[in-house]
Amino acid sequence: MKKMLYVAGREFTSTVTTKGFVFGILVTPLLLGLVFFLMPRYLTKAPPKVEGQVVIIDPTGVVAEPLAAHLTPERFAERREKTKRDIENAAPSVFRRQAAALPSGEAAIRQSIDTALGEVPRLQVLPLPGGTRVEPEKEALKMALPKPGSGPAPRLAVIVVQPDAVRPAEGTDTFGSYELFVRNKLDDRLVDDLHSGMRDAIVAARLRESGLDPVRIRNLTSVQRPGSRTVTAEGERTTNSVLNMLLPMAFMILLLMSVLTSGQYLLTSTVEEKSNRVVEVLLSAVSAMELMTGKILGQMAVGLLVLALYAGLGVIALVSFATLGLIDPLLLVFLLIFYVLAYFTFASLMAAVGSAVNEMREAQSLQMPIMMVLMIPWILWLPISREPNSMLAIVLSFVPPLGNFVMLLRMTSQSPPPMWQAWLSIAVGAAGAYASLWFAAKVFRVGMLMYGKPPSFGTLIRWARMS
């Protein structure tokens, strides 16, 4: 037992201290984690205050005024208030519950939205008649910005309305548009505002020109889009389709990634021990079973580290965006259980393959069928997460190597299976893991000292029967 732990310890440290592991597995999530951690903080930093002058050259004479109205600070404030309400409504219900539960949560969210949107810009709209030469007006856009609060307001944009923007030229049906010239590095939210202001102003002008009432037309053409609500036996709740897909996918990727990473490391280290001829030295000190179990345990720790890192990353992301309530902590426990089961099943086979071949190249062909099995959950992901309780899903939950993945998918879906199915799937998964461990132990003992022609899968089975 003690020797097994020494083997496991060496396996773990020699894997996690390689450069490949440190960069591939550790640095990437750490960077991502940093981004997740910093992004909300960066977002809440208030954008700079915008103050300045917008010149509009308006040969039609009817566009400048509505644009000026669109760009008053009051209208800005009004629009932002509306955006704010939209954001709040779009957030999943859990998010809002969570926020309400926090002390002054509601206020905090409003505050953060306020700062994210920034202070309302203060703009002067300077209408110039049609026929004004554009080039000199554009010159002012090139001048450096004065220090805030000193000197005249800087020119931010020049808009040139085309003469046929409101009324088509004689004999045609097509309308003209406008041109927009802006200062370098202008906040693109302001650019968006200018575009939408121009669009509204021109449309309103065209409607009036045709004798229609713009307000009435807007009311006639807008239909509010409500969020759909899922009706279940327990009650109704807002459907959040994106989240419904993301959560099972995230869990499955976590599971597959950690199993694949650690399984692959196990294969490599087994092949390495064999091709280095270290194995017989080791076998003089520990039994084949101790060696294999030690290696499997050591790499399981590597997988757990990967799992903990990425799952931890997910949790950090959720905490940062204040949506931790989305995940039931129990699911993380099940993730762990299914990881251990899937890992043991998969890793023992990898150890068996590793012990049978002489070098990595030969391992590829033996490894193929195992990898194919692992790819099945990917293919099944969509049908199962759409219909987590279909016959296919239920049956596959109890097919050993797949059951671990399928059951986790179903449990993270919006209509989780009954608990007895979960436990049964775990029991079947454990039996599968044991069987594959048994098979691997047999093959491992024979394979580790067998050099020469790489065996086929059939040979492996014969070895297992032989010993």
């Binding site: 020797k3 020699s14 021990e273 001829r277 270290v278 017989e280 030295v281 003089s284 000190a285 520990v286």
Partner: protein
């Protein structure tokens, strides 16, 4: 005194090939045994069975009083023929790891340092194993085999790939372990090594034991009754030697003559007569070499065709020359 290894009727086959057949062997505690035989004779298979790395098809074995080496692993040191190191691991780390796997507790790294000093690798503790030369790696592997002061030390081809200086060092280390009280069993296909080192020789040929005797016993049994005679004057008359009583035949052997004696004749009485007949520059009683012994045993075997003889000798001598170089 007990026995360190007892093998009874051991048999192992790999598919069609019989690697070891009906092997009996007893090695007393504290002995220094050499197992010799050409490549593929079954030496490694036997050793692996002694260590319970392979399991015999039938037969019984006892190692250090236990039915399986697995129960006495921590008291056995093993240097396999197929040996290697973790390339990326540091020498010191590797030895500490091996010592721990052999059940050593306490201040292992101190002992590792001592051992590295003894094999002239004191400055290599922090080096990665892949940076060592092959000979240095072999010394590290030897240290890994003996660091836990085993009662039984099994060495499979311990001298392969070593230069003469390191062969001598290895021989001294093995003898030192033997003096400490460890039972030593080593295999080699190079007969000179066995001659120089062991007090008891076991020969294996095609999976069967063909000889199991002490070196002294072998010298006696296989005394060739031959004398090497180098005349001072190369043109001396060979017939004068043939006339000496007790001489069966005289054949030229390069610039020397090979004098074969009658079965009953004693070298002590023949040599003075030979010297009287022709003035020699050198006279020497021929000692049986293990090579001769081996070839004579194998040639006597009906299953071996005689033309195998030369090939066999060549194989053995190749190794022998490598050993003497």
């Amino acid at each position: 005194m007990g026995y360190a290894i007892v093998l009874k009727n051991l048999k192992k086959t790999f598919g069609e090939t019989v690697a070891v057949r009906d092997l009996d062997l007893t090695v007393p505690e504290g002995a220094l045994y050499g197992v010799i035989g050409p490549n593929g004779a079954g030496k490694t298979t036997m050793i692996r069975m002694i260590l319970s790395i392979l399991f015999p098809d039938h037969g019984e074995l006892t190692v250090l009083g236990r039915p399986s080496a697995l129960e006495a692993k921590d008291r056995i040191g093993y240097l396999p023929e197929e040996r290697g190191l973790y390339k990326k691991m540091r020498v010191g780390e590797f030895l500490v790891y091996m010592a721990r796997l052999k059940g050593l507790d306490g201040n292992v790294s101190q002992r590792v340092k001592e051992w590295l000093g003894r094999v002239d690798l004191a400055d290599c503790e922090q080096k990665r194993c892949e940076d060592l030369s092959k000979g240095m790696q072999q010394k590290v592997q030897f240290v890994a085999a003996v660091i836990h002061r085993p009662d039984l030390l099994i060495l499979d081809e311990p001298f392969g790939g070593l230069d003469p200086v390191n062969q001598r060092l290895m021989r001294d280390l093995v003898l030192e372990e033997h003096r400490r009280g460890a039972t030593v069993l080593f295999s080699t296909h190079i007969m000179t090594h066995a001659e120089q080192l062991c007090d008891h020789v076991v020969m294996i040929h095609r999976g069967e034991k063909v000889l199991d005797q002490t070196m002294a016993g072998i010298r006696e049994t296989f005394d060739p009754h031959r004398i090497l005679f180098v005349p001072l004057d190369p043109d001396s008359d060979i017939a004068k030697l043939r006339a000496v009583p007790g001489v069966r035949a005289v054949t030229p052997d390069g610039s020397a003559w090979d004098v074969a004696l009658d079965g009953q004749a004693h070298a002590a009485s023949v040599i003075p007569a030979l010297v009287m007949a022709v003035t020699p520059s050198r006279v020497e009683i021929r000692r049986p070499t293990l090579e001769d012994v081996f070839v004579s045993i194998v040639s006597g075997d009906a299953s071996t065709a005689l033309d195998d003889d030369a090939r066999l000798r060549a194989a053995l001598r190749d190794g022998g020359q490598e050993g003497r170089r």
